[in-house]
Assembly symmetry: C2
Homo-oligomer: 358 residues x 2
DNA sequence: CCGGTTTGCTAAACCGGTTTTGTAATCACC
DNA sequence: GGTGATTACAAAACCGGTTTAGCAAACCGG
């Protein structure tokens, strides 16, 4: 009979083999200075020869920490990962986590339930992105005693959070187009992921919209209701939104897209409609994702420090995780308009645009 | 004195409060049919009122499974996440994991050491991407008894793995250009991330190169050494590679890029050099990432089923995780050439290209 | 050489659950 | 009405570590 199921060696196996107690083995790994040097090294040698590695789960249990932070999103991960914005954000989170020696665990609705996914997650803290403060899970997470930092959603006063100046950025974007003489604007907004969810009055979308409206109001202008069209926040969504607006008879000379992905879709749809960018139509995005500088033409957009946002979120989170008595930090990062090639002076006459259509 | 540090309720608290044993509480959650219905519901009521949730780590320890799969990359996550290829792959992995009720844990070198990161990770299995079979960690992971599926690296015969037909795809790409009359080709290859790492003879890069060479050989042609230029696998890398080749006096009419990101960089560099695509120069990518169909012009490229690759990897992994006696599965997915707008007939005379340069 | 400290290690308790084993009470059956 | 099976729960062992409390021997100053 050969050895069957070569069980993973436990601390007791090492102890027996080395002729010491479990305690000694534990010390050899975690506080070698509490053992005689030769004992410690002998124990480690035995452990090596047995291929022993402390079981991470058991370790988590006794130490009461997992050295893992969770990234929470209300949407399925399979929807999220190919979103360049989320990728850049994750990059920032990963950087912050790596520097602090934490691993990353992604938490998304399991079998449709964020709550049960949260219940299974073994994390020391959570960075939530795209989660509104009124989301029911937020209270549950807090009740579970897990530190939470909310990103991009005006947090409760006693909660840590990281956000950006959406309104200011949007206002700058609209102002830029207005300054170039554009008066017929189209706003391409983000459709809430689930139709039954009423869009949050304090969500990113609402804040950006307020910025657009404020810029117009400052010049005594208004945004007609039909000049706002919504679609999913993707390239395809941008294409669809632009086409729909055109079919509805709208002939904007400037487009304000609430995300770069949508703006890229608008760029493409415009090209297919025979419009030249920026001669016939100007397009402004929002976010400044990596590819935006490489589109043709390069995209004028509102830059937000996406990576920094992720990194800051982790920093703020870990300060709470490691010192729970610290006051929760609230960060607000700046945005700024980056002018590239997709915007230019408004065409002189409406006819120019109409002609381009044929 | 108010209640200080409202400790998280444990199973013993619920048991005491409900006047039953720990066992009964555990049963109430995990196998309610073993209790009288009214007992079970009473226990659950008490648990609810106390806000009790079973501690996930303790649960992992006794059940000997974490319901989590790890995604392992030899590169830092902060480098990886903004890579659209990795995003799409992760999307597939996430889809497979979500369907099976598993969470996702990303494992990357912690303080530079993959081994220690792996030691801390609490996962039931690992999907490794971009890890060569000869990597020292591979043996360590197997020794730890953690099931491992390797993606994109010719796995050992007794190991599960998922790969794609790199060589065939590359051959089709080169064949396409040759069929269009191109004879002056430039291959834009991937630079190994760390200079000291010798490029794997069986890595993705090598396999694709073999495909290019095979297509040439089939027509009795050879690839001059100086027609291969390497750079990091990014848009910026593609730009740099193309510029460098041009400065070296190369005047290719067709470019074979080993990744779409690099191809997009080549597109941009070509435009800046005053070359029209595809009239003056044709560009073929590899991977078919999402944006490639939206570039200007849309990119001709070798499609590989990235998401499916991730999903398959999880499926293969979980079949081993859940039934260890199963034979390890090895998958090889197909690639196919997608012809879009970035390739066209080779220009008639070399002069045309040279003239375009001015 | 004696009381107190330090050194080097062990035994036992603990982290928070699950699972196995055990047992009293009830039920079914002949 | 005695016997064997079932039901409903409890006691104890266990998962694999860490940490606290404790103890014997060595050391140390006076």
């Amino acid at each position: 009979m050969e050895e069957r199921t070569p069980r993973r060696p436990r601390i007791a196996d090492v102890a027996r083999e080395a002729g010491v107690s479990k305690t000694a083995v534990s010390f050899a790994f975690n506080s070698p200075d509490r053992l005689a040097p030769e004992t410690a090294s002998r124990i480690r040698d035995v452990a090596d020869s047995l291929g022993y590695r402390p079981h991470p789960v058991a370790r988590m249990l006794t130490q009461r920490q997992t050295h893992t932070i969770g990234v929470l999103t209300p949407q399925a991960l399979s929807v999220i990962f190919s979103n360049p914005f989320f990728g850049a954000f994750s990059e920032g989170v990963a950087l912050g986590a790596e520097q602090a020696g934490y691993a990353l665990h992604f938490i998304s609705p399991l079998h449709g339930s964020l709550a049960s996914a949260m219940g299974r997650a073994t994390v020391d803290g959570v960075v939530a992105i795209g989660l509104s403060a009124s989301h029911p899970e937020v209270e549950q997470i807090r009740a579970a005693g897990v530190p939470l930092v909310m990103v991009d959603s005006s947090a409760l006063p006693d909660q840590p959070g990281v956000e950006i100046n959406d309104e200011g950025g949007a206002r700058a974007a609209a102002d830029h187009l207005l300054g170039l003489g554009h008066r017929d604007l189209l706003v391409v907004g983000v459709e809430p992921p689930a139709p039954e969810i009423e869009s949050e009055p304090d969500g990113t979308t609402a804040r950006r919209m307020r910025g657009y409206v404020a810029a117009l109001a400052a010049r005594g202008l208004e945004l007609p209701d039909n000049a706002v069209v919504v679609a999913p926040a993707s390239i395809e969504g941008g294409i669809a939104a632009m086409r729909r607006a055109w079919e509805d008879g709208l002939r904007p000379t400037g487009v304000l897209a609430m995300s770069d992905a949508m703006a890229i879709g608008v760029l493409r749809a415009a090209r297919e409609l025979g419009l030249r960018v920026p001669e016939d139509i100007s397009v402004v995005g929002f976010d400044d994702i990596d590819i935006s500088q490489h589109t043709n033409p390069p995209l004028t957009t509102v830059h937000q420090p996406i990576r920094q946002k992720g990194e800051s979120a982790v920093r703020v989170l870990l300060s709470v995780v490691e010192r729970r008595d610290l006051p929760p930090e609230q960060l607000r990062l700046e945005t700024r308009l980056i002018i590239r090639g997709s915007t230019g002076p408004a065409p002189r006459r409406r006819q120019e645009v109409d002609r381009a259509r044929s």
